[in-house]
Amino acid sequence: MTSAADAALAVRDLTVRFPTDAGDVRAVTGLSFTVRPGQTLGVVGESGSGKTAAATALLGLHDPRRARVTGSVLVAGTEVVGAREPVLRRLRGRSVAMVFQDPTSALHPFYPVGRQVAEAYRAHHAVSRADAAERAVAMLDRVGIPAARSRAGDHPHQLSGGMRQRVVIAMALVNGPAVVVADEPTTALDVTVQADVLDLLREVQQETGTALVHVTHDLGVVAETADRLLVMYAGRAVEAGPARDLLARPRMPYTWGLLQSTPDLGAREERLRPVPGSPPSLLTPPDGCPFHPRCAFAETVPGGRCGTDLPDLVPVSGETGRLRRCHLPEDVPLGEGQVGP
């Protein structure tokens, strides 16, 4: 475990609620993790697991009128939760930047892409327009946009989806942030360019030593790139640990289910087994373990505790850095072998 002091990002007990007339939607509850410089954390979960609400909170982007955010988010030592707008403004883009899911809607349709990158730089550096434009061209070139100088004058609709995402990445990295939050950065892209964008992210990260939080619903996407994984379910962390160990030996039935439902092109004879059921409502989450209605093992736990008591997120004995939230005894085998790369 890393201490909060040397972490690029330290999240402690982060909770995000959206008050509605029907009650609070508990999008994120008690989420804690740290990411060191140069490290990648993969945050994995189905849609509706609260991962985007958590990512949004890392930049303090929630509208205070619509969302209640509590807990602590320290970005390079500065508190984000409850920070005033001027503080957040200095932080956003400079210390913590975001790569969005859909580059088509994330870029302003009316401005040339070079200008949009330059604007991110000028927001934090007192430089002339020309110098910022120069810097933007260099950045576009760095993220692999061919003929960056002339492409900088193009509008988003003149670029392909992959190129647009490269622009978004350039925009996120132009200030050399300590933390980059990538929310499903490859989901909206063609399969053929997904790998390119993932490689680019990893490459730039190694070069700059930035901490990367990679939010995704696809275990396959982060299996190779993440150092650590955090699995979210119904707004809570249900399992966390070093990526390799966690994928090899999942210790929580939901993670195991996710692995079973991830296609593996290498294993031809294996059939995909989707996790049965659908994620619970965040407005009225079930009592006990939020996963118990879908869990194949819930019946085997004595006393029906899965339906009444919420398990704590506790270290797995004998494995360093691993946490899980489950009532099952640790020695119960979940299934055979590793699915996924």
Binding site: L59, L61, R65, E85, R89, R90, L91, R92, G93, R94, A97, M98, F100, D102, S105, A106, L107, H108, P109, F110, Y111, E119, A120, A123, H124, H155, H157, Q158, V168, M171
Partner: protein, 331 residues
């Protein structure tokens, strides 16, 4: 691009020509007889004298012949008989039956007044409307938003002529805040021009701003929910830059379209404004021309002006849209 403009100009010309023909036909096939008032002005009007005047004015000829004469007059000087012979210099829009002046000349004299009223008023309502609309969108759901929306609804529910009349009676007559309201040509005395038009500008600006505030608010609320607004915030831009630099930039396009067409309607004559504030513009002129005895050449000219302005405004709006939205430019 050049092809597009050429195509649009051709269709614009067609629209103006058809409008002109339509108005011409409507007048000559209608019940009024332009020769009547001319005849009565000369004393006892016997049927023989009326027929003679009709012949002099060319009213006995077919509509097609008369229209051909009108079109020819646009390029060469012609002689027009309205209770006496008048030479009408090209482009001739006829001789007013009322004032016996060349319509083209009078139009050239009156149009600057309407132009002054319209441009001043429109500038105010565009600025005020877009600003309040943007702010209301930014503060959506707050008391400030409700006050702005409610206030705009209140103002827009008062009929315009009533608002203008009340402003004139209360602000100008009772409180004497706007002495010398009326039109002085800008070239004659810029200070008198501005001070004389200040009240009409304000009234037009306040009344027009309400609908622009609503358009802008609607467009802005939609735009501020877009992902690229989140991107702009995530970059660390100030809220002002996010709202005005990124939000308004995208939301303004549909507003400008409406503005272009509104502007055309204003330039074709601000009837109430001119009438209430005693400004000799195109609007009050058209109103006089409609009153019996109808002054056909003036009516025709004002309708033509309106048609020309509307097609030109449409063209300008389409071209301007390309400047605002780069996606239109390339397609």
């Amino acid at each position: 691009m050049a092809g597009f403009v050429a195509r649009r100009l051709t269709s614009a010309l067609l629209v103006v020509t058809l409008t002109s023909m339509f108005v011409f036909a409507l007048f000559f096939l209608g019940p009024g007889n332009p020769a009547g008032p001319v005849c009565e002005a000369q004393g006892r009007c016997t049927p023989e004298r009326l027929a003679a005047i009709e012949r002099q004015m060319g009213l006995d000829q077919s509509v097609v012949t008369q229209y051909a004469a009108f079109v020819r007059g646009l390029v060469v000087d012609r002689t027009v008989v309205v209770g006496g012979e008048h030479t009408c210099a090209a482009p001739c829009l006829g001789i007013s039956y009322g004032s016996r002046q060349e319509v083209t000349e009078e139009l050239a004299r009156r149009f600057p007044a309407t132009l002054s009223v319209a441009v001043g008023g429109a500038t105010i309502y565009l600025l005020v409307g877009v600003t309040t609309g943007s702010l209301a969108a930014r503060w959506r759901g707050t008391t400030a938003d409700r006050l702005l929306v409610g206030g705009s609804l209140l103002v827009s529910s008062v009929p315009y002529y009533l608002l203008a009349l009340l402003a004139w009676i209360v602000l100008a007559l009772q409180w004497g805040l706007f002495p010398g309201t009326g039109y002085t040509p800008l070239t004659e005395d810029p200070v008198a021009w501005a001070s004389g038009l200040l009240l009409p500008w304000l009234v037009l600006g306040v009344a027009g701003s309400t609908q622009y505030a609503r358009y802008t608010r609607g467009a802005m609320v939609e735009t501020l929910g877009e992902d690229y607004i989140t991107t702009a915030r995530a970059k660390g831009l100030s809220p002002r830059r996010v709202v005005f630099g990124h939000g308004l930039r995208a939301a303004i396009a549909p507003v400008l379209t409406i503005f272009g067409l509104d502007m055309a309607a204003l330039l074709a004559g601000t009837v109430f404004t001119e009438q209430i504030f005693g400004i000799d513009g195109v609007g009050s002129w058209a109103l006089e021309a409609v009153r019996a005895p109808q002054d056909f050449p003036v009516l025709h000219a004002t309708v033509l002006l309106g048609a020309v302005l509307v097609v030109v405004a449409n063209l300008v709006v389409d071209l301007a849209y390309g400047l605002v939205d780069p996606r239109v430019r390339t397609s």
